[in-house]
């Protein structure tokens, strides 16, 4: 082909604005077209200081590593040792986060339960009650007590292995849940005592207690009902985490769950997801400090969640002082969230046309709220939910968590630890000033901790 001289005057200039980039343009265009904020699923999409900004120092001249493949490195984790007669005993420090039946299909809940049981870990109900599918498939099931109390009843309280009093969620601390009408099918409506098809908005405040002193009595009530057998967790969305953790401990929690702003949701205003709450990294350090200041490290266990994706994330969370992590979005992605295909009848099928119908594409989808999940996860549609086979789902989840656990022990051994819970802050340094300040770890290659030590 003949090349032609370029006329510079006709060159299309593409000078993008940082303040009004394509994301912001899209946001303004949408707002102008609809007069309504965007409701969406998943968690914060913006770049935040995170575990990626930390690295391990590992063994060195002064530290002795363990042989990577052969030497024992235990991952056993016990949650709820403070008051419960039957604490939750886990084989791995990685648990499944609370996600509701309603936001997820019953087949997904079953996949989570089966995978958790095979992995020796726990799974958690959500805002909408306990389904028989998840109870039967889960050996260790944490039953959430949420402000809405949808489907909350004493029979299921008595079937639970632990109860999680949910004060807030990282994606929307201060906000209640939302389940748009297309997901409120007859079964979901009945479980939640709601009219079918209603755009359900969950309460954001608990109905029968308002402050930490009431919560003491509320937790006491749950302990009385369950005969002091099972642990009571308290879950908070990450905001004033240091205070919240102290208040949860004061209220009698066995376990505190802190969910950072990267944590997911099935449906909330995107302004809430992106602009309310603090990053998981910052919250984790505040939570650990709170427990240390109260001399409660190891007595009240700490579970961190919100954007935990990899074994490295788990290892960093444990090194910073968490006893376990909880994973929601990563689990959905393991099941195929944002994948371009789904597996059905022994073959992979393209889901691209279904993503396109939602006005999105694999890799960008956060349309959990629509109930039209192209890969059959966040749906109540009888046809779409068939795209996720519980057996296949359980296997994928098991593979994912096994991978994380192997990565975790790889790092622990490299740091010379025969128990993943022996990972410590000393093993970590930060790559950025923000991460160093939030995690209160030295900037890599220095001994400088912003706000803690003197000048660099």
């Amino acid at each position: 082909m003949m090349n032609k001289p370029v006329e510079l005057g006709k060159r299309i200039q593409r000078e993008e604005s940082a303040g009004y980039d394509r994301t912001v343009l899209d946001y303004i265009h949408n707002a102008a077209a609809h007069g309504l904020y965007e409701i969406r699923g998943l968690g914060a999409k913006r770049r935040l200081p995170h575990f990626d900004d930390l690295v391990f120092l590992a063994a060195s001249g002064s530290r002795y590593p363990l042989e990577g493949y052969r030497e024992k490195c235990t991952t056993k984790t016990v949650l709820g040792t403070r008051y419960a007669k039957k604490p939750i005993e886990l084989d791995i420090p990685i648990t499944f986060a609370g996600m509701s039946f309603g936001s997820l299909s019953a087949r997904v809940k079953e996949s989570l339960g089966r995978a958790a049981t095979e992995l020796g870990t726990s799974t958690t109900t959500g805002d909408g009650g306990m389904t028989p599918e998840e109870r039967q498939s889960s050996r260790q099931l944490v039953y959430q007590c949420l402000p809405s109390r949808y489907g909350f009843n004493p029979d299921d309280v008595r079937k639970a292995n632990a109860i999680e009093m949910v004060i807030g969620q990282g994606a929307k601390p201060g906000g209640g849940g939302m389940l748009l009408g297309q997901k409120v099918n007859p079964r979901v409506a009945k479980m939640r005592t709601l009219p079918e098809g209603v755009d359900q908005r969950s309460a954001c405040r608990h109905p029968d207690w308002t402050g930490p002193d009431d919560l003491v009595i509320k937790i006491h009530e749950l302990r009385e009902i369950t005969d002091w057998q099972i642990p009571i967790y308290v879950k908070v969305g990450a905001t004033r985490t240091n205070h919240d953790v102290k208040l949860a401990v004061h209220a009698g929690a066995d376990v505190v769950v802190v969910d950072g702003m990267q944590g997911g949701t099935a449906a909330t205003q995107s302004v809430f997801i992106e602009h309310v709450g603090i990053p998981t990294l910052a919250a984790l350090r505040q939570a650990v400090d709170a427990l240390e200041e109260m001399d409660m490290r190891g007595k009240v266990q700490l579970v961190i969640s919100g954007g935990i994706r990899s074994g490295a994330d788990v290892a960093k969370a444990l090194a910073m002082g968490a006893d376990a992590v909880s994973i929601g979005q990563g689990a959905l992605m393991a099941l195929g969230c944002n994948n371009d295909t789904y597996w059905k009848d022994g073959s992979n099928w393209s889901a691209e046309a279904d993503y396109a119908r939602l006005g999105t594409a694999p890799g960008y989808c956060h349309h959990c709220h629509t109930g039209k999940c192209p890969v059959g996860i966040t749906t109540q549609d009888a046809e779409l939910e068939q795209r996720l086979d519980p057996t296949v789902g359980a296997r994928r989840l098991k593979n994912y968590f096994k991978t994380l656990n192997m990565e975790l022990t790889t790092i622990a051994r490299a740091c010379g630890k025969s128990n993943v819970h022996h990972l410590e802050r000393e093993d970590l340094v930060a790559l950025t000033l923000e991460a160093a300040a939030m995690a209160r770890l030295p900037l890599a290659g220095t001994s400088w901790i912003p706000g803690v030590s003197g000048p660099l």
């Binding site: 309504l36 109390r149 009843n153 005592t193 009219p195 109905p207 207690w209």
Partner: protein, 239 residues
């Protein structure tokens, strides 16, 4: 059992004196020993405002609490008929499933919160948020109810023989409220509606059950206008 004195010499009645026995011993008895014991009535002496009295019952029994209860009296009740011969703190009969709870005196905040079933009768006044997030329970209040009562009520009936405070029935779903006295203000999406024959019969039935001598025709019906059921009517507009 330590601290338990059988002051009434019948096998069918058991007495717990909370001046001697902890609430936990009472609840453990109700959860584990009641069934099959032949005990049909439990009398609780000296409650002195203790919290969590008789919570999580799962068996038919008649309970008389001789004095004031604290928070969550008869919380999550199933099957039992509980009478409090005094006042109660927050969350009496919270999340009740079935049975009856009667408070002879006054009830503090969130009475009957999230109750799924059964009947809660409060002979005196009830404070803020009475019947919040109710899910099928019937609540009859002899006196007044405080602000924000039946907030987000999903199902069931709240009958108020006295006045109601501000924000009655805010964000209601399908719960229906009946008020004999004045309503200071209605909450978002709550509206007054005419009483139907079914409403009159239902209120008459509940008043009779509660033992209150009022005429059902004196009551106003409040229910959801259902304008908040769907997110935004203009959501699909496109300019």
């Amino acid at each position: 059992m330590a601290g338990v004195t059988a002051t009434v010499p019948t096998a069918a009645t058991r007495v717990f004196d909370l001046a001697d026995a902890p609430v936990r011993a009472l609840n453990q008895f109700l959860h584990h020993e009641l069934r099959g014991s032949g005990v049909q009535r439990v009398e609780i002496l000296n409650p002195n405002g203790a919290h969590n009295i008789a919570v999580g019952i799962d068996h038919p029994v008649t309970i008389d609490i001789q004095g004031h209860g604290g928070y969550y009296v008869a919380g999550m009740n199933k099957h039992a008929d509980v009478t409090v011969h005094g006042n109660v703190g927050w969350g009496v009969a919270e999340n009740m499933m079935s049975g009856t709870v009667r408070v002879k005196g006054f009830a503090s905040e969130s009475a009957g919160a999230t109750g799924h079933g059964g009947t809660l009768i409060i002979e005196g006044d009830a404070s803020l948020r009475c019947g919040i997030s109710m899910k099928g329970i019937d609540i009859v209040v002899g006196g007044r109810v405080g602000n924000f009562s039946a907030f987000m009520g999903q199902a069931g009936r709240l009958v108020v023989c006295g006045d109601a405070g501000d924000g009655l029935g805010d964000s209601l779903y399908e719960a229906v409220l009946y008020v004999r006295g004045k309503i200071k203000s209605l909450g978002a999406d709550a509206q007054e509606e005419p009483m139907t024959e079914a409403d009159l019969a239902g209120v008459a039935d509940l008043l009779k059950k509660a033992g209150f001598p009022y005429d059902p025709t004196e009551f106003k019906r409040v229910a959801s206008a259902r304008s908040l059921y769907h997110w935004n009517a203009d959501a699909n507009q496109e300019y």
